[in-house]
Symmetry: C2
Subunit: 209 residues, 2 copies
Amino acid sequence: MSTETHEQRREAQRDLARRTILDATEELLLEAGYDDFSIRRLVERCGYAAPSIYHYFGDKDGLLDALIEERFAKLAAQLKRVPRGADPVANIRGLAVAFVRFGLKNPTHFRLLFTPRAGDTKPPPSGEESRKLIEETLVALWDAGRLRTGDPQTAGQALSLLCQGLVWGRISRPDFDWSKTLTEDSIDALLRGLVAPDEAAKRSAGETV
Amino acid sequence: MSTETHEQRREAQRDLARRTILDATEELLLEAGYDDFSIRRLVERCGYAAPSIYHYFGDKDGLLDALIEERFAKLAAQLKRVPRGADPVANIRGLAVAFVRFGLKNPTHFRLLFTPRAGDTKPPPSGEESRKLIEETLVALWDAGRLRTGDPQTAGQALSLLCQGLVWGRISRPDFDWSKTLTEDSIDALLRGLVAPDEAAKRSAGETV
DNA sequence: TTGCCGTTGTAACGCTGTTAGCTAGCTTGC
DNA sequence: GCAAGCTAGCTAACAGCGTTACAACGGCAA
């Protein structure tokens, strides 16, 4: 019986240490920016020595990956909170706009999430959840027979790459004179090009959408 | 008279040194990749000591900027070589596809050109020329009254950010199962959404949509 | 010749990610 | 109770990075 509580306590301590380090990582990251983040600074702040960090996360990349995983979850949660109606086009538009908003609002996180880091060795953290959310909605569009391109996958990739470009460009050049309505306009334009005219849906709105 | 030839000779040597360093930089960059490039390695290869490099380029960023400027010129030259016909839509499509092709073919250069580096201090090297080329063509579209969005600038930004996204996503995740027709399909879709149906243009080009 | 300026090299500074090797404490087997 | 083993943590160091203080060499002007 003491064995079990011991293991539990040990695991709890493990989790505590990981949490402490991760929180300090995020704090420092947001405070100093992606490029001025360093293990040494993290060490100064988090109360643990460098080898402990390497003990828990193996690597600087491992540490950042752990944080990224959490942040992707937050992004997915934010996307899930987007209200979904009957019109799949409006749904996908809402998701795309929310995605871009998220990126523009949290540039450091976005950069962390979508910049491939130096060593390409390990598989990059997925962010599958949010990607799947978008894809599902597109499949719904496809099922409604309103997709113009061959397959929903291509459409999904086009849309998500446009969104990434929308965020990326504006993050990397905040000073540039970007159009105020760029996000909405470009997403709308792409959707117009991807989606067949909705008149069929307008006439009989009660159908399976 | 000796003054002039002296100055000329001096300048020639300057240029020679710069060329030598820049060539070695590019060579090493392509060979080792962006992340494994370092001044020390460059020093080993190019025959000059570190302070000389700093003497000529001031900075690691300055060195890379100099290279970037040249590469942007190459990209612009490549875009200029794209055949241009009477149809502005086909022209803009050709430019966009050529841009993406360039990016996919020269990932290291692309990364260098379009990744903002650590210190955001200095203004990033422009690449104005190639951007203007695209914008001009879009203005031609606008003049033909076939643009759906409010202004050609927004359209141009949307298109160029889509193209950047197209390259960027595939560079950063070469293993992902990208659609084979992604480039053409997504560019076509965006253009479909941006451009008014050409029938109106065929019948009477003067209308506003 | 003397002095200046531009070009180059040596050697170092301060920073980075990372790790070898040690200590302290807890748990298990005898 | 005591030695063995495991884990978590630290100190101190290594190799590499961008960068620069400083010295030395060269050709030109006075």
